[in-house]
Amino acid sequence: MKTPTQPSPAPMDLSLTMSGSAVSRFFPILGEGLLVRGPGAESVEGFLQKAAGVSPAYLKDVVQTVFLDGRALDDCSTTVLGDGAVLALSAAMPGLAGAVLRRGGFYAAMRRPISHEGGGAAAAGAEITVTLKLFNLVARDLGPGLLGRGILLPGSRLKDFIARQGRWIWKGCRGATVDGRRVGVEEVPGLIRPGREVVLTVASEQ
């Protein structure tokens, strides 16, 4: 007899209000990956625009380095994303390695064995989930908007992130709510369950 599967619990809703620039304490978690759900059969460029609000102009001008499933990607306009893909975005990077990993850069030949060949296909209409990693200036640029609207994360990732930041993470935190209930910041780590996804919203109090 087949055991009925438990429906996944609804994500926990964690909202934090931080003073001014203290929102940036959460930018590093954007580099660990947030879950983005959006339409299938889209190019990298199309998916980012529709599901994460990243404009093609920003992608072209600022996002100089793109990785798809750990490989440096040169063509964002024709490469199609599949379900479960891992997409990482970075601004221009220093060092020869930075120049080498750049999208379509002069030194791209130096990393050919780890370049993404592009292409790919997925069924149109189906919703896909992509892990999106935002590094460095891209996290700084897009972070406030994404965090302000709320990002979806595995609970284990957020719990681990908060634990290793120590007390510094709460510096400048003005208030917290969990599933609409006001809580003290010291309670927050204990309320995050590793097996439950979290919608983390971090708003800036000017």
Partner: protein
Amino acid sequence: MEKILRINMGADGGPKVKTEPVGSYAGMGGRALTSAIVSKEVPPTCHPLSEDNKLVIAPGLLSGSAAAMSGRISVGCKSPLTGGIKEANSGGQPSQMIGRLGYAAIVLEGKPKDDALYRVYINKDKVEIKADKSLKMLGNYAVAEKMKAEYGDKVSCISIGPAGEMKMAAASVAFTDMEFRPTRHAGRGGVGAVMGSKGVKVIVVDDAGCKARSPKDAEKFKEANKAFVAGLRKHPVTGQGLPTYGTNVLTNVLNEAGAYPTKNFMWGRFDGCSKISGETQAETENARGGEGSATHGCHRGCVIRCSGTFYDKDGHYLTKQPEYETVWAHGGNCGIDDLDAIAMLDRLDDDYGLDTIEMGATIGVAMEAGIAKFGDAQAAINLVKEVGKGTPLGRILGNGAAVTGRVFGVERVPVVKGQAMPAYDPRGVQGIGVTYATTTQGADHTAGYAVTANILGVGGKVDALKPEGQIELSRNLQIATAAIDSTGMCLFIAFAILDQPDTFQALLDLLGSFGGRKLTGDDVVGLGKSILKMEREFNAKAGFTKEMDRLPDYFKKEKLPPHNVTFMVKDSDLDQVFNW
């Protein structure tokens, strides 16, 4: 800078000072000058710690002037680590001060006949050399404090720690920064051991009463400098990425690419990467020390400001912001994901006077040998302390990864010509592997770092799709880098030059107006080639053959996860790098 200061540490009756005109070395600075003096005056087959070796400390061509970013300094000698010619580069305050004092170079020659340890004091009127037993086995921080107490905080120091005194092949030469801390290092190749062999613990540089060096065409120089600074500030790498996150911004990116050497080059990706990334590091520094803590220059006149200040958990100063290579060497390469432990290792390295890349790579090899477990931060700290104390184990580790691998029977030792590889796995980024293999310096990422080759048009147009493109790219990068290393300019200016032709022109104008002659890209290329030629000839006479221009065999055999790639560039292609 029309004179060279020579100090013969082995003269009868004690050290003797001689100041002489630059003569045939006129017009050279930085790496061009260190390599010219070493290749002309040092017997290539001499023992690196013998009286015949020389330690050459040379500011760049523009050091001491008002040119932005011009405070880098070169230290050259025959390397005790590689056995070949060496140029190690550093930031800090001394370069500008030596330039203002008018010295193109300070050359330490000979060797004391006893075991006395000396301090040297240089100002515009005199050069004073005193034996000083009280400095013996002091760390660089204590030496700097002692000199500050005696000479005030307007001077700068060039010093060695216990590692240099013990003549370890991983020993560095320290340069004080704007806060009088010994945090900037000419790290690579054991230059600190050569300074130790000369019996010099510290050189105090005092430029009181000296003016900035004057350009030949002051008006054009001022204009060019303004355009150069504007170019650096508007570029996303030099104007935003580096000041905000420092060089450690590369951690996440290299890790994502699967080219981040992990646990002694066994994997290309590290699980704990995000805990030690530049983004996390910058946030930690700013949270503990206040906004702006992650942005700081390594010398006056730096407008990129890719450094910062690392504070401990209680908010107290621990060390300068560890660089990407340091965080990798002591972090991912050893399986350590604790930023506080990595910062402590950086502090210890700076204090003992050790190259962070060599030490991190060495501890990685020691961990593979079972001396400590991968990921054990406290064990890594204890191992570096062994080096500082000079215990038998510490003496082995302090002589680098190659020696440590040999002593403990480890096959996977990531070195070329005896020098440890930096933080880019050559199987992932094959072009960097070509530079590791063929550079005159031993495995060194900065030897082919100046991403300006396409602008300079060195060697014609490169076909990026052909395998031989790797060879041409590496060749061109090494030529461009050798030239920039001679100007005293920070290598990070290369990004603005790469993307902005007007910034490249501003650099040429800056150099041209300072020296009073118009410079072209061809002149820069010619300079780079001449330096490499000198260095190659020295190495050949020292016994280097083309068979030494190779990566260790395991890079061709062991596949690097997650992309499972090996180093595929053929030996016959590597032999073409210097065939221009």
